[in-house]
């Protein structure tokens, strides 16, 4: 039996290669993700080990209200006095964003943009040119910043810090050992100490941390223990090793999430792969009916027949896993290099390794997926009666009742799971529900296959080859259905997300147009490194003084401790202007200017936190003591503004006591454009901040959705490629099955081009059918999601018509491409051989 299995395996190389390719690609995605994240993990660990290699112990103030604390200058001496300390140097670190020669702020893909105080003690740097900063108008920058912005020693450079842009002269350029321009793609600028303190911390004589060098004979751990007992509980004392580990762990946490996302998409690709393999095995089993029946009539048991098919699947799964693992290693290495060069900005890669997780998951996933796909065909094979060997091999169309009922049940179960998922906010339930829904729809697909296919086919069957192609695609509804369903999955997911995002855009636009009365919005860009732009509080007064301005107010926000829990708090400069521009209604109490220890909250927030008029909350901001704030009024449910606001007097207690955004309403009759022009100069020295009218602002906000959609499309590309392989596979198998028909057609005078056209039409019909299914299912998923998110503010339903049409066109093109190889194969058939084909 084993021999017979392996023989039949080898005799059908092409179809096996095609179906194995689906597994290979899926496994490649899985192992590639693991290799990529593993490599990046180790690279970042190396990076931080490197960063902290000159630090024995570091002393920082305890984090206050979620913001890093600062240390007074006197602490340096206190630390240095401790026994075992060789040297203690106060450090100043903060955010400094350089402006490039084109006037735009230089950005990174995620690495920080740092400002620091030049201490003259920089142990691991190499001066490339010039010196450290000697005067308060000089900076020394790293070579990566120099090359990114095209700066040379002696050039002017503008930097945005806590303060708007300031001009400096480049005194020197430094790099790192090994000719590296940066440690990990960061852009950094060193100031003189007082300048750094003023610009980065906003306070003279303070430090962010103290770098401690141990005296000879004192270990890092000993020194840490001694320092923490001497300094007391207000300070955090860590060894350099610990710091490196903490930082690396934090990155690893992020990478883990990234890995999950990649694996989720790999899962989708494999899910699609199951359809393809299932289809291939079904077709192979159907074609082998006589062979299997012969085996049965010769005394093979049902178990042996099942075993034969399952063994075949196992072998394919095993081979595909090995190949997929190898390919994944290559892809992971490639992506890591790509990331290091472009994403992270010259991150030094640790050696590419093959983590155990990649190996295990590759084999598990590859083999399990193939086996799952083979179960149904194997069972079907075992039910072939021995007498079938004597009959003509044609398998009659089985009734569709069972799959239809099963499909309806699974679809209902999937829908229910999704519903629960939304209620309980469980991503796993939602995702599982969606996948179950796909299986359900796939089972229902054969039912709609005939009418749909003939409908789509009608558009293409103006000629005889077209008609034949259409008839062929309607010939085996199950096969066409599974092939199309595989394509459906990817397109449905994209369409679903697209419907949600289009609806979100429509909702936001409508909300902005109907409920927000602000005409101009001042906001800053948020950097990939987590920095957000800000501007001085008194800008609001300057704006209000401009003719045509009716009202203006701004928000400042930061994480803080609210009743000992970390959460985001906002301060508003003028709560009345906020109420007026956002159209808020009082629910409890009345709108009135907030006192220093008063707060206003939304109805939702009140319910959520169980608060009412007069309730209090203890809030610890970054600076100053914890303060008890009293709820002065509650505003009614609004989609524009939720949560809580503190009075404007709280702003000065924030770590960065500046505004993040502001809203301006002009007088009726005044020109919005004129007002915009008149206030833009206030931000001339702050290129991170922009003034936009309402619709431009909404457009900018919603344009982020396009990026999200693009990312999803890229990640789903593999699932779609696998589905295309499925189309190719189905066509190739059909060509083999219909060899004699093709021979006959050629014999009675069908030209090669016509044969190719016939196959192409069949292919297009299947692909477009898949796309139509995908768009329909995706729209349903999207609408369901939008309905579930009604309370989250997605009140409008929008449909991405253009995108849908694009997918249909793409599907048609995909159909043409998928048909190329099978069509060439069909056209090349030798007429006589084909007629004689058994």
């Amino acid at each position: 039996m084993l021999r017979a299995t392996l023989k039949s395996l080898l005799s059908r190389k092409l179809r096996l290669v095609l179906s194995a390719l689906a597994v290979v690609l899926g496994v490649m995605f899985v192992s590639g993700s693991f290799v990529l994240t593993d490599t990046l993990n180790r690279s970042f660990t190396d990076l931080f080990t490197n960063v902290y290699s000159g630090v024995d112990v570091s002393v920082t103030a305890k984090e206050k209200a979620g913001s890093p604390g600062t240390l007074p200058a006197t602490m340096v001496d206190r630390v240095e006095a401790v026994n075992g300390v060789e040297k203690a140097v106060g450090q100043v670190n903060g955010s400094a964003r350089a402006i490039g020669k084109n006037g735009k702020v230089l950005t990174t893909a995620g690495a920080p943009r740092l400002g620091f105080a030049w201490t003259g003690d920089e142990s691991q740097i190499e001066m490339r040119d010039g010196t450290g900063p000697k005067t308060d108008t000089q900076v020394t920058i790293n070579a990566f910043l120099a090359s990114t912005g095209g700066f040379k020693v002696g050039d002017q450079i503008e930097l945005i810090t806590l303060e708007p842009k300031k001009k400096f002269t480049v005194a020197g350029i430094f790099g790192y050992p090994g000719g590296r321009d940066s440690l990990g793609g960061e852009l950094s600028a060193g100031f003189t100490e007082p300048v750094a303190q003023q610009l980065l911390l906003g306070q003279k004589d303070t430090f962010t941390d103290i770098k401690v060098t141990a005296a000879a004979g004192t270990s890092q751990d000993q020194l840490r223990d001694r320092l923490s007992s001497e300094l007391g509980g207000d300070y955090v004392v860590k060894t350099g090793t610990q710091l490196a580990k903490d930082q690396a762990d934090q990155i690893q946490e992020g990478l883990k999430f990234f890995n999950y996302i990649l694996l989720a998409f790999a899962g989708i690709a494999l899910f699609v792969g199951i359809f393809i393999i299932l289809n291939t095995f079904s077709i192979i089993v159907a074609q082998r009916t006589r062979e299997l029946a012969l085996l049965r009539s010769m005394g093979a048991s049902r178990g042996q027949v099942i075993g034969s098919v399952v063994l075949e699947a196992f072998v394919i799964g095993l081979i595909a896993s090995v190949v997929g693992l190898g390919a994944g290693f290559g892809v992971g290495a490639l992506l890591a290099n790509f990331f290091a060069t472009f994403g992270g900005g010259n991150l030094k890669l640790a050696g590419i390794g093959l983590p155990m997780s990649a190996v295990i998951s590759s084999f598990a996933v590859g083999i399990v997926v193939t086996l799952i796909a083979a179960v149904m065909p194997a069972l079907r094979a075992s039910r072939i009666a021995p007498v079938a060997a004597m009959r003509e091999a044609a398998t009659p169309d089985r009734p569709l009742t069972r799959p239809t009922v099963a499909g309806a049940l699974i679809l209902a179960a999937g829908g229910t799971a999704m519903g629960f998922g939304f209620v309980q906010q469980s991503l796993v339930l939602i995702f599982g529900g969606v996948l179950a829904a796909f299986v359900g729809v796939a089972l229902l697909t054969p039912l709609v296959s005939r009418p749909m296919v003939s409908l789509i086919g009608r558009l293409l069957s103006w000629s005889m080859p077209g008609l034949l192609g259409r008839r062929n695609s309607a010939r085996n509804p199950r096969r066409t259905a599974i092939t199309a369903a595989a394509l459906m999955v990817g397109i449905a997911l994209i369409t679903g997300v697209s419907v949600v995002l289009t609806s979100a855009t429509a909702s936001i636009t409508k909300l902005a147009d109907t409920q927000v009365r602000s005409d101009l919005i001042i906001s800053g860009e948020t950097g990939a490194d987590g920095t957000s732009a800000h501007f001085a509080v008194d800008t609001i007064d300057k704006i209000k003084a401009k003719p045509g301005v009716r009202s203006a107010f701004g928000f400042a926000g930061e994480p803080a401790l609210v009743n000992d829990e970390q959460s985001w708090v906002s301060s508003v400069t003028d709560v009345l202007a906020m109420q007026q521009q956002f159209g808020l209604q009082a629910k409890e109490g009345t709108f009135a200017p907030l006192g220093a220890t008063q707060m206003a909250i939304s109805e939702d927030y009140a319910t959520q936190k169980n608060l009412k008029l007069g309730s209090t909350m203890r809030i610890q901001l970054a600076k100053g003591e914890a303060t008890t704030f009293t709820v002065a009024f509650v505003w009614a449910k609004s989609q524009v503004m939720q949560g809580m606001v503190l009075s404007s007097s709280a702003i000065e207690h924030l770590r960065i006591p500046q505004l993040n955004n502001a809203f301006v309403q002009v007088n009726s009759g005044a020109s919005v454009t004129d007002v915009q022009k008149s206030i833009e100069p206030f931000f001339a020295d702050n290129p991170e901040v922009s003034v936009q009218d309402r619709s431009a602002f909404v457009k900018q906000q919603t344009s982020q959705f396009d990026t999200v959609l693009l990312m999803i499309q890229i990640l789903l590309a593999l699932a779609i490629i696998i589905a295309v392989l499925g189309v190719i596979n189905t066509l190739a198998l059909s060509v083999i099955e219909r060899t004699r028909e093709l021979g006959l057609l050629r014999a009675i005078g069908m030209r090669r081009a016509q044969v190719m056209r016939m196959i192409t039409v069949e292919s297009i019909v299947i692909s477009v059918f898949g796309a139509v299914l995908g768009i329909a299912v995706g729209t349903a998923l999207g609408v369901a999601t939008v309905a579930a998110l009604k309370d989250e503010g997605i009140t409008e339903l929008g449909f991405p018509w253009m995108t849908m049409v694009q997918y249909l066109v793409v599907a048609a093109v995909v159909g043409v491409v998928a048909a190329i190889l099978p069509a060439i194969r069909a056209a090349r058939l030798n007429v006589l051989d084909a007629i004689a084909y058994e």
């Binding site: 008609l467 009675i748 005078g749 069908m750 030209r751 090669r752």
Partner: protein
């Protein structure tokens, strides 16, 4: 249509398969002409090269040496495109089995060569053919809904409907019972006599051959005999001699 009285001809046609020791000579210098409007049968024992000759004549296979003509067209040397068009426009086929496309109705199968060539159906001619084969009430049926004899009659109708220069039939009755076979053969005979259709039929059944106007005998890749206006007995007699002749070699 051509001007001469010959619909198809082979001139010193050789055909061998394989090479070296394994080479098989299926045709060893066959020269034959098939006159217009006649029904010719090719007979011979199994393996004598009947099918090979027919394939070469019909442009389904190329010859090793010699020339093949269909009407005024020299088939030998044509490229695939030319051959395809030749088969489509000037040749009709009836194979022993699997003549029809299962996805098409009987009528669509019959008009398939015309549809492929983008030609219009001559309705009057179509009706004549259909009525002659007696398929009028089966036109909308699929092949699986037809009996073997009906299927072969559909195949005959298809071969005729484009009014080809010549219709080739390779053992068209080989898979049929004698009654269905007789119907098909009667139809082929009628096509030649009443409609002037040139027909070349390969068979090894003397009875089938007796429907033809002329029978040529093939043995070991050579034409060894010929009978005009054959009867089944005469054919049988010749076959016996042929067997003796082959046996003697």
């Amino acid at each position: 249509m051509g001007t001469s009285g010959v619909a198809a001809s082979a001139v010193d046609v050789w055909k061998s398969y394989g090479s070296g020791d394994a080479a098989v000579t299926a045709l060893a210098g066959v020269s034959v002409e098939f006159e217009r409007e006649r029904f010719t049968a090719i007979m011979g024992p199994s393996g004598s090269g009947k099918s090979t000759l027919m394939h070469c004549l019909a442009g389904l296979d190329d010859v090793t040496k010699g020339e093949v003509w269909i009407g005024d067209t020299k088939v030998t040397g044509l490229k695939d495109k030319g051959l395809t068009e030749l088969r489509r426009d000037q040749v009709g086929f009836v194979f022993q089995q699997f003549n029809l496309l299962p996805t098409l109705t009987a009528e669509e199968n019959i008009t398939l060569p015309l549809a492929i060539g983008g030609r219009k159906v001559d309705r009057a001619w179509f009706d004549t053919v259909i009525d002659t084969v007696g398929l009028r009430d089966r036109l909308s049926h699929r092949p699986t809904q037809l009996s073997g004899g009906q299927q072969q009659r559909v195949a005959c109708a298809r071969a005729l409907v484009s009014r080809p220069e010549v219709v080739f039939a390779d053992e068209p009755t080989g898979n049929l019972d004698s009654r269905s076979g007789a119907e098909v053969l009667g139809f082929l005979q009628k096509s030649a006599r009443e409609f002037g259709q040139t027909i070349v039929m390969v068979t090894h059944d003397p009875n089938a051959a007796s429907y033809a106007d002329r029978v040529i005998f093939l043995a070991d890749g050579l034409i060894v005999n010929e009978i005009l206006d054959p009867t089944a007995d005469a054919v049988l007699e010749t076959m016996k001699h042929l067997d003796a002749f082959v046996g003697a070699q």
